[in-house]
Amino acid sequence: MDNLLEIKNLHARIGDKEILKGIDLVIKPGEVHAIMGRNGSGKSTLSAVLAGNSNYEVTEGSVRYMGEDLLKMSPEERSWAGVFLGFQYPVEIPGVTNVNFMRTAINEHRKHKNLPPLSAAEYLKLMREKMAYVEMDPSFSSRGVNVGFSGGEKKRNEIFQMAMLSPSLAILDETDSGLDVDALRIVANGVNRLKTKDNAFVVITHYQRLLDYIVPDVVHVLYKGRIVKTAGKELAAEVEAHGYEEFE
């Protein structure tokens, strides 16, 4: 099967500080990849670069997504093409309601596919269905995006948005951080329900905990801006037991 994502020798920096120092990664449809690593190893930088955050500058290497040059695309073009980033720190947008935010997003996606906008009733039906995936109360829809949400509610809102947009490649940046066991289970169930043979997930995490619920096909260990080890799901347990020292 064709590769969904192909990263070759990717280098990226923020300001003068080089953070990614040659990443190689291939992801096929239907796969779940976990990327583990210490703070500062470049996990969040990798996800930010893939989503098109302009704070990071790519200095070398290439990223092809469905055969296209991903790095040439704007953040919104990446979203339309099916790339989704679940933020480690979801952004609060006071005054923009969740419903207005997501309806605008959905209709921009539809416009890009030459589809008419969803009617209010169609949108509400879709929204209720997807909110149920993450056990989210419909009253959240009338609140400002992430405003006054608890840590767990923000992460559930990320997975809700992912369910609404049904991406081909979802990158979840430390979605497990700050979650209690119940919230973790809800978030993981949401992800598992969205898994198909055609889409792929990249789960970025410190801990094995999330990987007990979302079982990866491949685990990578990121260290100082490079992938230093790649193996099956057993690697997560190894990291959990022995820490990252052996990769240093």
């Binding site: 989503a51 919104e76 997003a105």
Partner: protein, 359 residues
């Protein structure tokens, strides 16, 4: 301006709303076209009601159009009915006009005042709007300003609020060349309340001034002010706000805020809030901000497939929403919200076929 009258009025001004409980009047260059709006040509003694202290001296009427006789209109709103008065400038001669809104019985009143320019002339208007709320009167007053880029318009609002009365005023400036809104509010009766909210949108070379002087003269009165501006292009806004709490005005609550959103490098907002407090048992606060659209918010929205331009509009709508949502009547709030959205999208906010340069 020839030609303007060929356009049916119903198409001209979409700020107004069609309601069964509504009366609509047009005033062309200071002359009301309906006998229910009484025209009083005598000079109104607007300064007399503001003889509070020496601080108020500077409120005397500006003499720049001294030789022009003022045109005056008196509006007496009926209870539970929206009175819409639409002021249109259509001839290029400078105009000095006076408007008085009288609520002389206790009750609930609603008034919408719109000002428009029909045509692309360099209109110059000086206006005094006097609002008198007697004991127990509650007035929702919405001011909508949509004028061409060459217009100069100076409005002095003299607001007198007596015991137990409530004034809710929203000043929405959609477009104008150079607008100066001077609001002078006097809370002269016990337990009266004044909520002044304003939204100004400016681009190009527009200049919008807002000068608020709010005097707490009586005790146990409440005032709240929220003025917000969205500035792009080379536009300028200046906000000066002064809240004066007189020695007699114990148990005053007074809040004032001015927030500005700058969407271009060269737009400028200045803000100068003041509190002058002579009483000791009061709750007062004020503050002002100027900021830009946040990069983090933009990236978050774009990462969900919302294009950059749409994301910017959403942010600006959210910013404006805090003022618009204080407009009580739903139809009017919706109408003005749509006009603001169209304005932010750079779409025409008036009619097709009119040669005004509003947008």
């Amino acid at each position: 301006m020839e030609g303007i009258k060929y356009i049916p009025k119903s198409q001209l001004f979409d700020c107004s709303v069609e309601l069964s409980s509504s009366r609509k009047f047009f005033v062309w260059d200071g002359v009301p076209e309906h006998p229910l709006l009484s025209e009083e040509t005598g000079v109104l003694d607007v300064a007399a009601s503001f003889d509070v202290s020496s601080r108020m001296e500077r409120l005397s009427y500006s003499p720049s159009l001294e030789n022009i006789p003022p045109k005056a209109v008196v509006i007496r709103p009926e209870e539970k009915e929206l009175t819409q008065v639409i002021f249109v400038r259509s001839t290029s001669a400078p105009l000095k006009s006076r408007v008085r809104i009288e609520c002389s019985k206790a009750g609930n009143y609603e008034v919408l005042l719109c000002s428009h320019t029909a045509g692309g002339d360099r209109f110059y208007t000086e206006e005094v709007v006097e609002v008198n709320l007697c004991k127990g009167a509650r007035l929702d007053l919405v001011i909508m300003q949509n004028e061409n880029s060459l217009s100069r318009h100076s409005s002095d609002f003299r607001l007198k609020i007596e015991e137990g009365a409530l004034l809710k005023m929203n000043t929405i400036t959609l477009h104008a060349g150079n607008i100066s809104n001077n609001l002078h509010a006097l809370l002269c009766g016990k337990k009266s309340e004044c909520r002044l909210n304003g939204l100004y949108l400016a681009d190009g070379e527009q200049v919008i001034d807002t000068d608020v002087t709010l005097v707490h003269q009586a005790e146990e009165c409440v005032s709240r002010q929220l003025f917000k501006g969205i500035l792009s292009g080379n536009s300028r806004s200046r906000f000066t706000g002064e809240v004066v709490v007189c020695p007699s005005a114990q148990k005053t609550e007074a809040y004032q805020a001015n927030n500005n959103l700058l969407t271009s490098e060269s737009a400028r907002a200045s803000s100068d809030p003041h509190l002058v407090i002579y009483a000791d048992d009061v709750k007062c606060s004020h503050g002002s901000t100027a900021g830009t659209i946040g990069d983090e918010e933009l990236f978050y929205m774009r990462s969900r497939g919302i294009s950059e331009s749409e994301a910017r509009i959403l942010q600006q709508q959210a910013f404006a929403g805090a003022v618009l949502e204080t407009i009580s009547r739903t139809e009017l709030r919706d109408r003005l919200s749509r006009l603001v959205e169209r304005r932010l999208r750079g779409e025409d906010t008036v009619c097709a076929g009119c040669d005004k340069r509003c947008c």
